[in-house]
């Protein structure tokens, strides 16, 4: 198959771009640990009240000053309704859904998690700036989807 000289140059450039892009993404993911939210833990969506950690949704401060925030999403809101953490502390969110698929997405951060019934999604984030952050559901979940939001208070 004949390839024009310029096309060879062009495709070499393409392959090089491909390798550079994938290297950046790969190093960031596996060396620096920047992977999107995820998790392999399963739960029974109809029996969350009896399944740890969802039997006790809320903000749990650990001894080392980090937090575990356990959240249940359901149409059209989140439990707990109030979340407060300290700026600079590591916060691990664990979320699942009681009914349909939702999301737990904190505006102005990289916390953007799909909330799928039966699955536990996890993401660790550190809020550097204090303030009130908006949390929205950005996966269509029904007639009240655009009202599904809450806030997280980050204090000094």
């Amino acid at each position: 198959m004949h390839l024009h000289k310029y096309e060879k140059i062009w495709l070499t450039f393409g392959f090089a771009a491909l390798i550079i892009f994938l290297s950046v993404v790969g190093v960031s993911a596996f060396h620096q640990g920047h992977t999107p939210s995820g998790g392999l833990q399963k739960v029974d969506p109809e029996n969350l009240e009896a399944t740890p950690p969802f039997d006790d949704p809320g903000v749990h401060e650990k001894e080392d000053g980090s937090y575990e925030v356990v959240v249940i999403a359901e149409a059209f809101g989140y439990t707990p309704s109030e979340i407060q953490v300290q700026a600079g502390a590591e916060v691990t969110f664990k979320v699942t859904s009681k009914d349909v698929t939702h999301s737990f997405s904190i505006v102005d951060t990289n916390v953007n998690m799909m909330v799928v019934p039966g699955q536990v999604n996890e993401k660790t984030h550190t809020f550097e700036e204090p303030g009130t952050y908006l949390i929205v559901c950005n996966e269509y979940c029904g007639g009240g989807h655009h009202f599904m939001s809450t806030e997280i208070e980050v204090v000094e």
């Binding site: 004949h2 096309e7 450039f13 993404v25 039966g118 699955q119 999604n121 269509y140 007639g143």
Partner: protein, 552 residues
């Protein structure tokens, strides 16, 4: 001399497909117009109509119905043109397929209109629509398969009669698109038949949500290539003829299509990067496979601009860019598609961003994504289809695309471009701020959310102005189509529209490129590598299933 037109049965078939496509198009774009006004609270819907019903209709009618019907109309005309008249069996099966596809479409439209299926075109479980919505979907897919197989039958007959020859490029590309479509649909057919239908009719109590999502996206990504490849057929085969050139390289064109089959299917996880239930390794592997489509995309870009430059220089263009001014800009059939290509440059780059693993978290399910597909399927694909419409409809109806209609067509593509630039830029910017997609009026009482809409570009007015211009443009297009179908002057031999097919020198094209068994085999190997382990895991380690919810 070869007959100018294709036989009447094919023309009727293709025109029926195009007609349904444009009915869906005008209703779908009207829904889009309503949406931009509801979103900025300028319009209140009556109580019997809901924003998410309109949103579902907009997505289904434009992304599924308009595209699919248009594509089959285009394929049927082109296959008859390049491979010769259809036999009675091919005609019959195409009609049967068309009727089944239409029956599915009608069933789903009814379900959406009566409010039984406000589940959007992604119909994620465990939101549960009326069971007949899923039956309609299944019928839709099966109908397209019947039409596809009828066309493949026609192609096989041609190949038997022309042993040792390469098939015409148009026919090869059509078959490649059909191969991609049939393999892709296996996922959605599996989830609809074995998961959704038994569950929605109550034969099964629960559904494996994560499996259904993964089967959907196994289909959902190649679906976008099913829209794109027919546009690429126009770029590779039609456009060179319109400007008086020929296909740059027959073998590279075929290789690009083969690569699209291989690398558009085992990549669905890049739509699921932020969700649980899939190990990071598999998400990353599919990201790598996703990035491979850069190669055939760049090959296509190269071929296009090579054709333009070669032809521009033949016409006397001098210097580095002189050829550019020599292209036939006054021919709306060419200019429309050229503009469509330009839109695909930011569109494709945005796609690379979306698929970039951790970067996906920044934009996933924000308005950015909506902006993205309006400058991929919404303009490069749709405007290429407009460009094809301008000659295909008069070719089929034997009418004249008059000067006056050509001027209107220019206004149509210019307004579509302006509207799309305004609307999609606003959507991209709002998405970067974090504004979610798929929401009705967004009245979040938070300073961040209030600030989203205060920018010059990123405000509701820009989006509404863009949306209004787009609907105006859509109405203009439908007016042109109606004129070309019933009212434009009838053509005689001197001004009969032709089907522009560029010559493509296939004498040196390697035989292996048309060995479908090899490529379908490789495609399945890649799919098996990318999907077997994570999908087995979803089945074996499934959590208790979900019952259905109707939350609208």
């Amino acid at each position: 001399m070869m007959a100018v037109s294709i036989p009447k049965p094919e023309r009727k078939l293709a025109l029926t497909n195009l007609g349904i496509a444009y009915i869906a198009f005008i209703i779908g774009t009207l829904c889009g117009l309503l949406q931009v006004f509801i979103r900025n609270d300028a319009l209140q819907l009556p109580a019997w109509l809901d924003y998410y019903q309109i949103l579902t209709a907009h997505g289904v009618l434009l992304a599924l119905i308009f595209t699919t019907f248009f594509i089959f109309g285009f394929f049927q005309s082109g296959m008859s043109k390049t491979l010769g008249a259809f036999g009675p069996k091919v005609i019959l099966w195409n009609w049967i397929g068309l009727i089944i596809t239409t029956a599915g479409t009608v069933m789903d439209t009814v379900m959406i209109v009566i409010g039984e299926a406000s589940v959007l075109y992604t119909f994620y479980a465990p939101m549960m629509a009326n069971g007949f919505f899923y039956v309609g979907l299944a019928l839709f897919v099966v109908g397209t398969w019947v039409q596809s197989l009828a066309l493949v039958g026609h192609y096989r007959k041609w190949r038997k009669a022309h042993k040792g020859e390469r098939s015409p490029l148009f026919a090869f590309m059509t078959v490649a698109t059909i191969v991609l479509w049939i393999i892709a649909c296996l996922g959605v057919v599996a989830t609809v038949l074995f998961q959704f239908i038994p569950w929605a009719f109550g034969w099964k109590d629960s559904i494996n949500v994560e499996l259904s999502r993964s089967l959907f996206w196994y289909f959902g990504h190649p679906l976008v290539y099913f829209w794109l490849l027919p546009a690429y057929i126009a770029w590779y085969v039609i456009v060179p003829k319109l400007i008086g050139g020929k296909v740059f390289s027959d073998s590279l064109a075929r290789l690009a299509f083969i690569l699209f089959i291989l690398f558009s299917i085992p990549v669905g996880f890049h739509h699921q990067l932020t969700e649980p239930g899939i190990a990071s390794f598999w998400k990353f592997l599919q990201t790598v496979l996703t990035f491979m489509v850069i190669v055939p995309s760049l090959m296509t870009a190269f071929s296009m601009f090579a054709v333009f430059e070669i032809r521009g220089r033949e016409l006397g263009g001098k210097g580095l860019f002189g050829w550019f001014t020599k292209l036939p800009w006054k021919d709306v059939r060419f200019t429309s598609i050229f503009v469509a290509m330009l839109f695909f440059i930011p569109g494709g780059a945005g796609g690379i961003i979306n698929a970039s693993f951790q970067m996906n978290e920044v934009i996933h399910n924000t308005l950015w994504v909506v902006g993205h597909f309006h400058i991929t399927v919404g303009t490069p694909v749709a405007m290429t289809f407009f460009g094809v419409t301008f000659w295909l409809v008069p070719y089929l109806t034997k009418r004249v695309f008059t000067k006056a209609l050509q001027r209107l067509a220019f206004i149509q593509i210019i307004t579509w471009s302006i509207g799309m630039v305004l609307m999609s830029t606003a959507q991209h910017v709002l998405g970067l701020f974090g504004a979610p997609r798929r929401t009705a009026y967004t009245g979040y009482q938070h300073e961040d959310a209030l600030a989203w809409f205060e920018g010059i570009i990123s405000n509701h007015v820009t989006m509404a102005v863009g949306g209004s211009i787009l609907f105006l443009s859509a109405s203009l297009l439908v007016f042109i189509v109606i004129q070309l179908t019933w009212f434009a002057p009838e053509a005689d031999e001197s001004n009969q529209e032709v089907f522009p097919i560029a010559t493509s020198d296939s004498t040196e094209t390697p035989k292996i490129l048309e060995n479908w068994k090899v490529w379908i085999g490789v495609a399945f190997v890649l799919i098996a590598i990318a999907y077997t382990v994570p999908m087995m895991d979803m089945i074996q380690h499934a959590p208790p299933g979900s019952k259905g919810f109707q939350t609208w």
